[in-house]
Every structure is written in structure tokens, then in C-alpha cells.
Amino acid sequence: MAISGLAISDRRLAGEMPATLARVTAEQWLDAARRVHETGGRLVALWGADRRDDGGAFSIHAAYAGSDGLAILELPVAEEEETYPDLSAIFPCAARMQRAVHDLLGLVAQGAADLRPWLRHGAWRANEFPLRREFDPEAYRANAFEAYPFVRVAGDGVHEIPVGPIHAGVIEPGHFRFSVVGEKVLRLEERFGFAHKGIDRRFADFTVAEGYRLAGRCCGDSTVAYAWAYAQAAEALLEVAAPPRAKWLRGLMLEAERIANHLGDLGALGNDGGFGFALAQFSRLREDWLRLCDEAFGHRLMMDRVVPGGVAADVGDAIRASIAARSEAIEREARTLRDIFDEHSGLQDRFITAGRVTPETARLLGLIGLAGRASGQALDLRVDFPAEPYTRLAVKKAGHAGGDVAARVRVRFEELLESLRLVREIAASLPEGATRVELPHPAAGAFGVGWVEGWRGEVLVAIEAGEGGRIRRAHAHDPSWQNWPVVEHAIMGNIVPDFPLINKSFNLAYSGTDG
């Protein structure tokens, strides 16, 4: 995208998604952020790289989205400086991403209010940086578990409730520190990074052709979205295009993933509202759907089925008919269950007004994805920047302004029903032809980006090729980076027992952001 009024020489990147890349100075870095902000754009992702072996400097990258696509800016950071201008004063969501960049690469966002570690809990020393070339990822290091300075809330009757990293249910690890008076939450502070697996560093052990397997394991519930974003990025840097049938099969899998997640979460939301019936019903439908996915693609979650150059699965006529029949059956049941939800006063009492994020707060904090669409932020890449097959599907964008659990449940139902329609349409109009193309050898230094609307929100993957077909640097971004800080606001003033319900209504990723 073009950033209005900014004199930089950008180049259009190859690939399915509209994107530009430009190198900027520190002044332009800040100027660009302000201009993007003024024109209603958003910060999509932020990451750093060690380029000292190629140009003699580090670099920090920001991906912005505006009305005409992505603009990726790259700011070289000299080795002796190790700083770049803070973006969090303009885009609050930058704060944690900048802290993660520091933990992994040692670059400091100058002027940022919060410089506490984020991913580094003590497994590596404060003066070691895993993304630097000299860092040996396999060297033995004592695991130190450093204390973390939480923000303290003082006052009469205020006490803290620490929760996690291990939670009560079968969910991902993370820590929530509640400061409460009686049952009322004054403040929630999240502390994550527990699932940090060193993915950004690990990418460099893979070739561009193979890295999709790692990308598909950043966040298991969104494996299709990640693998597709990775494939888009790889195809962009290789300057190849997947065949039409592969693109439609990717769409089929992405919508199937959305359906599976919405079915699971709608059941869990009912359950968290004290309505066990909903969990029994929706978990049954989810299982029906996963078994169909297994039959159709050979894997219940469709892992490793989207690959650079196409897809590693194909569906025949019998499966297409099963998809049509099963999606119709689930749609009928989902409509009945929606009526039951709507008419259940006890459930609605829990949903309505709980965890409200007003459209204004959502806009200020940069809420995106399905949670954004429940708070008046009408963003959906499938509609705003459609890639095939969405160019031909006329996806109906869900949207509500209520911003509470009820609105997020409504968006879930709408998107579930829309995706059930989409899988039928895709199955009916799947183009004939090949499902995969041969990949050329990547040129060292080639760069590509992928950007996909997963069920939770937009997933971005950027890849830079190195020597010998390997990945020099790859970064995968989860929409939960933007949305987790908003959960801290959503809970304020609510009561502690409503937190599981409110949290589930967002259902954000831990592993996806911990990396």
C-alpha cells in the first residue's frame, strides 16, 4: 500500500496479496506510523532480523494495513545503536511485540513505556539474543525462572488472584494476575511466553519448501490459516502461483477450520454460561465435522495439507457430496441451537453486557478478527482483499457493535452459517486441474509475505530466503497479539467468575503469540 504523503521508494511485492516493501530511515519510521494511524490504517505485525552478515546491520520490520493493502517497512538498525523509535505510543498493540523483539534480538524500542521482558523468563540470559547469528540455540543454559514485576494495585480491600500458567481446564499455559475488590475485577494483567518454543529461530533450520510444517504448528487450531499464509509468502518469493484447484481446496480447508473452531467454541461458551447441553450438542457436531475432514483430507485438523505450490490433498465426487450433505445437516442443527441460545434467559443473562469492548475502545486498541467484528471493526481479509477463491464467493462480512459476549456469540453463529454455505459453494464449483506445481529454487534474499483471514483473525507470515534454498528469516504473526491486551480491558469492572466466559468468547492463542 502507499502511505499518503510519505516520500519513500517502495516496490510492489509479487504474490496474491497486495503488498509493498520499502526501506526507511528512523525519521520516516515514525512519520509513516503517524500517517498510517491518521488515515485509519493499522499495525499488523512487527519483527526484527539480524542482517549483520548481509549489509552490516540489524533490521526492524513493521507491516501496516491500509485501504489498498499491506505496506512493509524495513528500518536498518546499526550494531552499535541497537535502538529504533517506539511505535507503541501510536499503536498500543506494538508494546508486546517490541518487548518480544528485544528478548529475541536485543533491539530496544526507544521511548517505550514498558521494557520488561516478555518471552524471556530466564531460560536464556538477559545479554543473550536467540535471533543473533552468534547465539548457539543448542548450548546448555541453566533455566533461571526470573521473577516478574507485575503492576501492583494498591488500596483498601484490594487483593490479587494469580491464575496459571497451568489452568483448570485443558487449555494452553499463561498467567493472569487479577487485582480485585470482592468479586469485582479492577485490573487484569496478562503474562505470557510460557509456550515459547523458539519458532522464529527454528525456521532457519528449514528450507523454504519445507517450512510450512513448522508454520502449521505455530497454533494448532489455525493450522490451515498459518500454512496458507506461509504458502502465499513462499509462492510470492518464488514467483509461482498455485493452480486454481489448489486455491479452491485451500479455501475449502480454511472454511472447514473456521467451522470446526466455531462449533467447538459455541459449545464451550454455552458450557461456561452454565448450559452443559450446548457443550454436548456442539462437541458432537464438531466431532462429526472433524471425522469428515479426516475422510476428506486425511487429517482431522488438516495439518500439512496446504503446501507451497498447492495442496497435498484432493477430494473426489463422493467427498464433495458428503461435504454438501453434512454442512446442510449441521446448518439445520446450528439454526435450532441458535434459537435455543437466543431464548434461554439464563444464558443470555450471562452473555449480555459481559466483557464489553465498545467500538471506540476496539478502534483505539486495534481489535481485529472475529472479536473486532463484534465491536464494530468491520475488517475481514476475505472481503477486503480477497484472494482466490474469495474473489468469486462474495463472503458476507459479519458485524455487530455490541462488543459483549453476546455480540461475539452472534458473530460466531453468523460466521459458522456463512462458512457452511461457503464450503457447499466451493465443493460445488471446484475447478478441475492440477493441485500442485513444482517449486523453483529460491534466490537468496528473495522476500515474500502471506496474509490470511483465519477463524480468529488475520495471520501474517513473512519469509526471506537464504543460501541453498534455506530460510534466512521467517516470522509468523498471530492476531492474538492485537487482541490479548484488549481482553485486559474487557474484564475490567466484571466479576471474576465471568472471566472464563469472557476469555472464551475471544478464545485467543497462547502458542500462536508465544512463538
Binding site: P137, G169, R300
Partner: protein
């Protein structure tokens, strides 16, 4: 209330129409149920700990609670407190940042402390391997009784792994 009751009534029929694997599954479920009773003499309580998985294993563990697998009906319960747990179900390559919490959960369990490493990551680190950020599998941190491969292992494989661990300790 009437629509809910109607839905429950109608769903009963749907359960009867479950996939072809149902009969086989019922047999295995009954078998597992009998074995748990024979081996433990009581129900089995499991504490699941995500030690840095991608969350796919969690999705499949949660699937065990759906009406098809219905593990609670077989006397298997997932618990919040490790102090109530017979068995620790570990997923993920054991992120270094989860090493201490995982140990603490294990320490809090009463004997016999069965441990099942679930999925390729818990087996040996999987695609993440052993690195500055990961321990490279549950056995690097805890004594593991049974390892269930898969990425992620499907629900039936998880159940079979749990049973294998139960059978190991009390022949």
C-alpha cells in the same frame, strides 16, 4: 424449555446414527472401562498439562469428552488439581518456560504418578526439537510411562495410551 427437550430427544436418534466405527468403538470402550476397573479398581483421574504444545493435542484431549467418546461415562475424569490426579498427561516439547510449572504439577500428585507423554512433541520435541527454548520432550523432565505418537494423536490413540500407562503400573 420445550425446544431444549425436543432437541435432546431428537439428538438421541442422531447418536444412534453414528458413523460405522461406532460398534467397534463401543467394544473398545467397554474393554477400556473393564480394564480400568480391573487395574485401578476405581475411576481414573487425569491432570492434563500443556507444556508448550501448539494446542492441537488439547483439541483432541477435549474431544474425548464429546458424546462419541464420552470418557466420563467410562470413569475417566479430567481434573483441575494435580493433587487429585492418578495420571499426568503432558503435551508439547516442554518449553523451558514450562519446565518448572510442569515439575510442580508432578510433585503435587499422589503416587503412583502415572505419566503419559502425548504427541510427537512430548515424545522427543517433535518439529521443535531440543533448543534454547525447549527441553526436547517430557522424558527430559519427568519419568514417562507411556508415549503416544501422533501430531496430534487422534482421540482413540490418546485413550489407548492412557490405558497402556494404567496397565503398566498394575499388572
Amino acid at each position: 424449555m420445550i425446544p431444549i427437550l425436543l432437541k435432546i430427544l431428537r439428538t438421541g436418534v442422531v447418536t444412534e446414527k453414528a458413523p460405522a466405527a461406532r460398534e467397534e468403538w463401543r467394544t473398545r470402550a467397554a474393554e477400556i472401562d473393564a480394564q480400568i476397573l480391573r487395574l485401578l479398581g476405581r475411576a481414573l483421574v487425569i491432570r492434563e498439562v500443556d507444556a508448550g504444545s501448539c494446542n492441537a493435542c488439547e483439541l483432541e484431549v477435549n474431544a474425548l469428552a464429546n458424546p462419541y467418546y464420552n470418557i466420563e461415562g467410562m470413569g475417566i475424569k479430567l481434573t483441575a488439581s494435580p493433587r487429585h490426579a492418578d495420571l499426568l498427561l503432558v503435551t508439547g516439547p516442554v518449553a523451558k518456560n514450562m519446565e518448572e510449572p510442569l515439575r510442580a504439577a508432578y510433585e503435587a500428585m499422589p503416587a503412583p504418578k502415572l505419566v503419559v507423554a502425548l504427541g510427537d512433541c512430548a515424545k522427543d520435541g517433535g518439529i521443535f526439537g531440543a533448543s534454547y527454548a525447549t527441553c526436547g520432550g517430557a522424558s527430559k523432565v519427568l519419568p514417562v510411562d507411556v508415549t503416544v505418537p501422533g501430531c496430534p494423536p487422534p482421540p482413540l490413540a490418546i485413550l489407548e495410551g492412557i490405558l497402556a500407562a494404567v496397565a503398566l503400573r498394575k499388572p
